[in-house]
């Protein structure tokens, strides 16, 4: 299905589409939205930063390169960069942390990279639903810019 975004993928959508990403563990989903144009993108990323020595590796695996790429594509599709706003979710720590500290866990590092990349781009981060140890699924509604985040364990859902 065109609106389902799997690991290391990102897609642009226009209102009234809904973009979805399921089964987020330590991965991060980043949404970017231009409310006036009704255009946005959802990216599903795996690793915090693209290494300098491997510039040819696919961008959407990496939070930093993936966000830059989404912004470029959104602008080319007619979005106004100055109006873009972001929301992020995911970054959980799925398995116990017996030999990793929470701060160093990949989920937390993905979230940190997202915040830093968005700050570098000057894109306001409006909301985040990050961390914990539950998997999440997200639906990003292009007509409103709302991100609905739910978990598999009846923890209810959160609207960002």
């Amino acid at each position: 299905m065109a609106d389902r975004i799997s690991i290391a993928q990102a897609r642009i959508g226009r209102t009234p589409a809904i973009l979805k990403a399921y089964g987020l563990g330590s991965c991060i989903a980043v949404s970017l939205y231009d409310p006036d144009a009704g255009i946005g993108a959802l990216g599903h990323m795996l690793l915090p930063c693209r290494p300098k020595q491997n510039p040819l590796s696919s961008e959407n695996k990496y939070v930093d390169a993936g966000i830059f790429q989404m912004v470029d594509e959104l602008v080319r599709a007619g979005a106004n960069r100055e109006r873009l706003v972001a929301k992020i979710t995911g970054g959980a720590n799925m398995f116990e942390t017996s030999y990793q500290t929470l701060i160093n866990s990949i989920g937390a590092r993905n979230a940190k990279s997202a915040r830093e990349t968005l700050a570098e781009l000057g894109i306001p981060l409006l909301a985040e639903e990050i961390g914990g140890n539950r998997g999440r699924s997200v639906e990003f509604d292009l007509s409103t810019g709302t991100m609905i985040v739910c978990s598999s364990h009846e923890y209810g859902q959160v609207s960002l």
Binding site: S6, A8, Y22, G23, S26, L47, S58, S137
Partner: protein
């Protein structure tokens, strides 16, 4: 060596190597649950990392996942997935008091991790003998959640060196009754850097 360059013969070697390991693992499982365990012929898939959750049955499918790292002469991961009904039936075979549905309390978690440990150890021990190498499982980690979120950890490790995952999957089922069978999926995900160790079983030229 990149996964995509593997020949059919090399893929067959991986299947056979894994089959031998699974034979030992399922013998161990049979002894634990007191029932015969059947193996399906393993299959090898090489897919883009983004396709892996679908290969596992769907990113949202609720599963008990046990992951272990392979340590020693070769590196990679092992992942055991049990759909929740199978995890429950497995626990009923192993433990005396179990409710009507799966309750992931400390005892259940501990028992399931132990199953993972025993299966992975049997598997790696058989592989190690075959390849004349030392292969040891790490401490098992367990989570009960959507398949997509379970596989993240494994894929993150892998994606640092590859855009593709090679998975050797074996389905197994135990129990005399088809309807109440305990089904599981066993995945071997070798690290591309040490793949040649697994391939050495056939004395295949590689590199």
């Amino acid at each position: 060596m990149p996964f995509r360059d593997l020949s059919n013969i090399q893929l067959d070697v991986l299947k056979e190597v894994s089959n031998i390991g699974m034979g030992h693992a399922t013998t161990a499982l049979s002894q634990m649950i007191g029932q015969t365990v059947h193996l399906r012929v393993p299959h090898v898939t090489i897919t883009e990392i983004s396709e892996v959750p679908e290969q596992l049955g769907g990113a949202e499918k609720l599963m008990v996942g046990i992951t272990l790292q392979i340590l020693g002469d070769a590196r990679g991961s092992i992942m055991l997935l049990f759909p929740k009904e199978s995890a429950h039936r497995l626990l009923c075979s192993l433990l005396v008091q179990q409710g009507k549905t799966l309750a992931m309390n400390e005892l259940a978690i501990s028992a399931l991790k132990e199953v993972g440990n025993i299966l992975a150890s049997a598997y790696l021990s058989a592989l190690g003998k075959l390849l004349n190498k030392t292969l040891i499982p790490s401490v098992p980690l367990l989570a009960y959640d959507m398949a997509g979120s379970l596989v993240d950890n494994v894929l993150i490790e892998l994606s640092q060196s590859s855009d593709f995952a090679l998975m050797v999957e074996t389905d197994f089922s135990g129990g005399s009754d088809q309807e109440h069978a305990i089904r599981g999926h066993f995945f071997l995900l070798p690290d591309p850097a040490t793949l040649d160790i697994f391939l050495s079983a056939a004395g295949e030229p590689h590199g």
